[in-house]
């Protein structure tokens, strides 16, 4: 036990040393590169290291780097016992105290929700539909994410029970009362749709607006220009759609996004596709015709079918 405690202490000291060494190294590097040491960011460090010690190793992880010790050295748990050997945590003997603490808390959260609902029913009130948590806007944390959060390794059954319990909580009519608790374990999807913002419109000499996009599926690549205020004219590699895609399935692939966004016959498409086979070309085009389309179209991230996918078939 003593050895255990000493080890924990030694680790803390070791980390302290590493961090101070990193800070000094950072100032040295700034000096070497002739930069201002106070405003030398991690990005600058990476750039400088890449310049000073270039490595062509395929695995980027294996190249030289200078990172903050917290990013390099895996986190370790703090000491778990006091000097008498009494564990700090009431669930210590379960070996996964954080996880079971969470499960225990979740049970009482659910119970409190039930009680609250009973009270509301007795008062004749109804759950506020406006406040309801939109389940589609976020997803549960994945198992590795939960493990990272709790610093404990979970079995599949345990993760399943976690999901079951939390699903019961979120599906409760007044789950919004515990939104902050629930949302700790959910990842919001809206961030994703924010990233893929609609590209700006470009105007050609005639003043006609268009957008440009690139896309890929399997080994195919597609470069697309979409003109708004069109008549549904499609050119692929300088030829007709029919010449490029003799199979109707491929043409349907290309059509699906236009159909979905109701722009069929309203935009002109000029595309260049290369590499791959006919179906992957159509797939590459489909994704591209999709993502920007024209300014008339809202972002299309709501539909799960339109998630960009380079490998899995659209119908698969």
């Amino acid at each position: 036990m003593r050895a255990y405690l000493e080890r924990a202490k030694a680790h803390d000291a070791f980390m302290q040393g590493e961090i101070s060494e990193y800070e000094i190294g950072k100032r040295h590097l700034a000096n070497i590169m002739g930069a201002d040491p106070d405003n030398f960011s991690q990005e600058d460090i990476d750039k400088a290291v890449e310049y000073l010690l270039p490595s062509g190793l395929f695995d980027k992880e294996a190249r030289p780097k200078m990172k903050h010790p917290h990013d390099v050295i895996p986190k370790r748990k703090a000491a778990e016992f006091d000097v008498d050997g009494r564990p700090f945590h009431t669930y210590f003997y379960t070996a996964k105290p954080q996880f079971f603490k969470l499960m225990h808390d979740a049970v009482f959260v659910l119970e409190s929700l039930k009680k609250e609902e009973d009270k509301m029913l007795r008062r004749g009130e109804e759950a506020n539909a406006d406040k309801k948590i939109i389940i589609g806007a976020s997803v549960w944390l994945t198992k590795p994410a939960v493990e990272e959060k709790l610093q404990e390794k979970l079995s599949d059954e345990e993760y399943d029970s976690f999901i079951r319990l939390f699903t019961r909580i979120i599906e409760h009519p007044i789950s919004y009362a515990e939104e902050t608790f629930i949302m700790q374990y959910r990842r919001v999807l809206s961030a994703e749709s924010m990233i893929s913002s609609i590209p700006e419109l470009i105007y050609d000499e005639a003043g006609r607006p268009y957008q440009e996009a690139e896309g890929a599926r399997k080994t195919s690549k597609a470069y697309v220009k979409i003109w708004s205020q069109g008549s549904g004219h499609v050119t692929v590699n300088g030829t007709d759609l029919l010449d490029c895609f003799p199979e109707i399935l491929d043409r349907e692939q290309v059509m699906s996004p236009l159909h979905f966004t109701n722009t069929l016959g309203r935009v002109d498409i000029e595309a260049r596709v290369e590499g791959g086979g006919h179906s992957s070309r159509a797939g590459a085009l489909r994704e591209e015709a999709l993502s920007p389309t024209s300014s008339e179209i809202p972002p299309l991230r709501v539909s799960p079918r339109i998630i960009k996918n380079n490998n899995v078939s659209f119908f698969g």
């Binding site: 040295h28 590169m33 070996a95």
Partner: protein, 357 residues
């Protein structure tokens, strides 16, 4: 069992004590009696303790004593292999894979607790890290180094010649571009076979060639000529030395130029198959046209016949405008390539030629 160990340990200590006592008693006995001296076996006289050199303290690596605002160019003046002690950066390189053998439920605890996993997954530091020594480094070419180099080189620089300010001007005055490479190889030989190669580039438009000469030039150089850019590229590597290759290249260029201006006797014997372009007057098309116009001319004798006007106007029908335009359309179709536009043009010309307006 542990207590048994204790006991045995205790007895051991006791035994050793007893042994010491016995020895001391023996030594007492030695003083009383004359000693049997076996040289090299037992002690004679006072033993002089061997003087050991005091261990010098290990000097901390140089990086520890470096001031943060030092002049790095003095620390690392020239190219050199990575030295961990002279580089004051906590660099890490390498990738260590964490590998759990027989990973099972019972080992899950180990994942976060075991000592063995303590160093797992951490890239090794710079101390004794061979990987850092293998890769090249540019610690001798930092911005400060370059500034110093430039300052030192400045006095040897001359002014840029006037009139060659832009690339276009350079191209104009020096149309021939010669590319060669030098190689420094760390191996048993100083020579690198690639160093002898010389590449000469020139744009054909910068040579003074008429259409025949240009045609011949292009035929002579074959695929070394890029029709899209109009550039000639000569790769020369048949001689062992770069100089020889360069001289040969220049010779070759002038020989090509001279040769392309010559017109040989056999060049007049060119047939249709030798033509690189479709020439209407040499082809079947002309015969067909001639035949057809002759028939039309004959038919024109009958006044009810609707013959295109041009047939009657001119004596030499083939020289008339519709036929010439038709000929141009056919040539266009063959030489430029057919598309809807050229076919449309061809159609119009044929209609003009065959149908009365």
């Amino acid at each position: 069992m542990a207590s048994a160990d204790q006991i045995s340990h205790e007895s051991m200590v006791n035994q050793s004590l007893r042994f010491k006592m016995a020895r001391s008693s023996v030594s007492c006995k030695y003083s009383e009696f004359s000693m049997v001296v076996i040289p090299g076996h037992n002690h004679t006289g006072d033993s002089v303790e061997r003087r050991r050199r005091p261990e010098l303290p290990v000097i901390p690596p140089r990086e520890k004593s470096m001031p943060i605002d030092q002049d790095w160019t003095t620390v690392w003046p020239t190219a050199s292999t990575f030295k961990w002690s002279a580089v004051p950066l906590p660099i890490r390189q390498g990738r260590v894979f964490v590998c759990f053998k027989n990973f099972s439920e019972s080992n899950i605890f180990n994942y976060f607790h075991s000592q063995k996993a303590e160093q797992d997954g951490i890239p090794p530091g710079k101390y004794g890290n061979l990987e850092l020594m293998k890769i090249p480094n540019f610690l001798h070419l930092t911005p400060n180094h370059i500034k110093k180099h430039c300052a030192a080189l400045k006095e040897f620089c001359t002014e840029w010649p006037e009139g060659l300010e832009t690339d276009e001007k350079c191209k104009k005055h020096f149309p021939v571009e010669v590319i060669s490479s030098d190689y420094i190889v760390d191996s048993i030989s100083l020579r690198d076979p690639r160093a002898r190669t010389v590449c000469i580039k020139i744009n054909l438009s910068s040579l003074d060639l008429d259409s025949h000469a240009k045609d011949k030039f292009i035929r002579l150089v074959g695929d070394r000529y890029n029709a899209d850019t109009g550039e000639l590229t000569l790769e020369l590597d048949r001689c062992p030395m770069k100089k020889q290759n360069h001289d040969y290249g220049i010779y070759l260029l002038s020989a090509l130029f001279k040769e392309s201006w010559k017109t040989e006797g056999w060049e007049s014997e060119k047939t249709v198959d030798d033509m690189e372009m479709y020439v209407w007057s040499m082809n079947e098309s002309k015969k067909n046209t001639q035949q057809i116009t002759e028939v039309m001319k004959k038919a024109a004798e009958n006044p009810s016949c609707k013959v295109p006007e041009y047939v009657l106007k001119s004596e030499n029908v083939l020289e008339t405008e519709p036929v010439q335009e038709y000929a141009a359309a056919v040539e266009d179709l063959h030489n430029v390539g057919e598309d809807l536009h050229s076919l449309e043009k061809y159609k119009e010309q044929v209609k003009k030629m065959l149908l009365a307006q």
